[in-house]
């Protein structure tokens, strides 16, 4: 996809549901990454 019509800019997001997960040990250890979540929902929005 050359032009995705969005950029992931985590500094601008206030998304408490997701952001509190990235502090949890079990999430960090599992390899959880917030940018994967953001990439997914933004792709679904601009598909």
């Amino acid at each position: 996809d050359l032009h995705q019509r969005f950029e992931v800019d985590e500094t601008k997001y206030n998304d408490p549901l997701v952001q509190e997960l990235e502090k949890r040990k079990d999430y960090i250890a599992s390899g959880f990454r917030t940018d994967f979540i953001y990439e997914r929902v933004l792709t679904e929005a601009f598909m």
Binding site: H3, F6, E7, D9, K12, Y13, N14, E44, A45
Partner: protein, 302 residues
């Protein structure tokens, strides 16, 4: 999205949606009338005039509109039962979607919708990785495994084996984020949170309508958000996809580029090569066309 089975197999215009339902209804009527004729034929001697009269008056097949009323009624039941079973939002959405798709190609006169309610929820659970064994599902839903499994095959076949659904919930989350970027510092975040919750509920209601066949998930999402706050959406889309504003930046950029090009020309003394603009963010959304689609979607939702 155009590669998805949802777009390829389950997106229609209002016209061909109506034709599809008409065809399903007429096929069922044909079958019923044939059975009726045969029944009267086989029992002509034993049927009294009064019984014949009753058959003629009462045993009249449903019209397409009546079918749709029943399907809408039972779609609501699917939603209520799935909510009652505490299933995740996406599983409820998939249940409703499976149920309504089943009755696009099958008539309620061939399959009693009551018999599909549990089966669609059960298959949605499996398909969305929310696996519940049929026995524990039967217990929770106060049904039995035979009834639940009886039409599972028929359901999967009628779904044309397309099980992956794109519901408008993820686009809601996506736009929720992108609005924060485009309108950074200009939106009240608490207010955004309230909108988010209200839109989530509205999306589930939207799934009970034909909207999902006529518009894409992101279009439905934008329509639902704009029903909550039309101004927010138009400002966001204006900034995001408005041509004229970006033209200014284009002009402005071209202005800059023009200078750069001028400089290039002087330095090289040659013909300035065309500065390809492939690096500029591609803006292939026609804002006015999108706004028109959104308002059509809003009208239908309302």
């Amino acid at each position: 999205y155009r590669h998805s089975s949802q777009f390829r197999m389950w997106s229609f215009t209002e016209k061909n949606l109506r034709e599809k339902r008409k065809k399903t209804n007429e096929r069922a009527i044909g079958t019923i009338n044939e059975k009726l004729r045969k029944f009267i034929e086989d029992n002509k001697s034993s049927l009294t005039e009064e019984e014949l009269q009753t058959l003629r008056v009462k045993a009249s097949p449903l019209s397409m509109e009546e079918e749709l009323q029943l399907i809408n009624f039972y779609s609501k039941k699917v939603q209520v039962i799935a909510q009652h079973l505490n299933l995740p939002t996406e599983v409820i959405a998939t249940s409703i979607t499976f149920f309504r798709r089943f009755f696009l190609d099958n008539s309620v006169m061939e399959f009693d919708p009551k018999n599909l309610v549990h089966t669609t929820i059960f298959l949605a659970c499996k398909s969305e990785n929310y696996f519940i064994s049929v026995d524990s599902f039967a217990k929770k839903a106060k049904s039995n495994r035979e009834a639940i499994l009886k039409y599972e095959f028929k359901l999967v076949e009628s779904l044309k084996f397309s099980l992956l659904n794109h519901h408008p919930y993820k686009p809601l989350h996506g736009f929720f984020l992108d609005i924060q970027t485009i309108l950074y510092g200009k939106v009240d975040l608490k207010y955004m949170g309230q909108i988010y919750d209200r839109c989530k509920k509205k999306i589930t209601d939207a799934l009970l309508t034909d909207i999902v066949y006529l518009f894409t998930p992101p279009q439905i999402t934008l329509a639902i958000i704009s029903m909550e706050d039309e101004q927010l959406i138009s400002r966001y889309l204006e900034l995001k996809f408005g041509k004229d504003i970006s033209n200014n930046t284009d002009d402005q950029e071209n202005g800059v580029n023009k200078e750069v090009k001028e400089v290039n020309k002087e330095e090289e003394g040659g013909v300035p090569e065309k500065v390809d603009d492939k690096h500029e963010p591609q803006n292939d959304i026609e804002l006015n066309k999108l706004l028109t689609i959104i308002s059509q979607c809003v009208d239908l939702l309302e």
